[in-house]
């Protein structure tokens, strides 16, 4: 895939799915501690999300870094908006800000 095709795919993913996590490994089997930490936060928050494994596609792994202007994986998108990586997501969860954002953006949650 060339860069444009990768950007188009990323754009589609974040538009079509309310919550998208670009991560190393899968939600069931994260391949990196930082990705695992964000999966853990989202599970605790009761958020359904789509996990996209960047390790399965090198062009996606580099492409999403450029797309978000963010040098590391994981990367969390909520309703098409880049929210942050592991540090920011954990900080937001601890402060209650993540709950607030999910509610404001009307993201479906498990009970």
């Amino acid at each position: 895939m060339n860069e444009n095709a990768v950007f188009t795919r990323i754009q589609q993913e974040v538009e079509e799915n309310p919550v998208v996590l670009f991560m190393k490994g899968t939600p069931m089997f994260p391949q990196c501690g930082f990705s695992a930490a964000v999966v853990q936060v989202l599970s605790e928050a009761g958020v359904k999300f789509k996990g996209i494994d960047v390790l399965s596609d090198p062009s996606l792994r580099e492409g999403v870094k450029q797309f978000s202007n963010w040098p590391t994986i994981p990367q969390l998108y909520i309703k098409g908006e880049f929210v942050g990586g592991c540090d920011i997501v954990r900080e937001m969860y601890a402060s209650g800000e993540l709950d607030q954002v999910l509610t404001e953006k009307d993201v479906p949650r498990a009970g």
């Binding site: 963010w70 540090d87 920011i88």
Partner: protein, 81 residues
């Protein structure tokens, strides 16, 4: 692939001259750091933008030479306790 804490601090201060940078080498291996960066230039910026400014200062090293930098940013006077 490791980086000295002093080098991280130098790069950040080069881009953000007013920054206060506190760095902790979490495992003593020169590869896993936590940094708190305080700067008045963060005013009016979102947290994502603040972190992007710091990553920009590290000029591509974040995610390559520098494997793990747990980052916190703050405005002067608003540092976490």
């Amino acid at each position: 692939m490791a980086m000295e804490a002093a080098e991280i601090e130098r790069l950040i201060k080069e881009a953000l001259p007013d920054a206060r940078v506190l760095i902790e080498d979490l495992r003593g291996d020169g590869d896993h750091y936590a940094a708190l960066v305080t700067s008045a230039t963060f005013a009016g910026k979102s947290r994502v933008q603040q972190h992007q400014m710091v990553y920009g200062a590290l000029r591509g090293r974040m995610g390559s030479e520098l494997h793990a930098l747990a980052l916190q940013t703050a405005l002067p006077g608003e540092e976490p306790a």
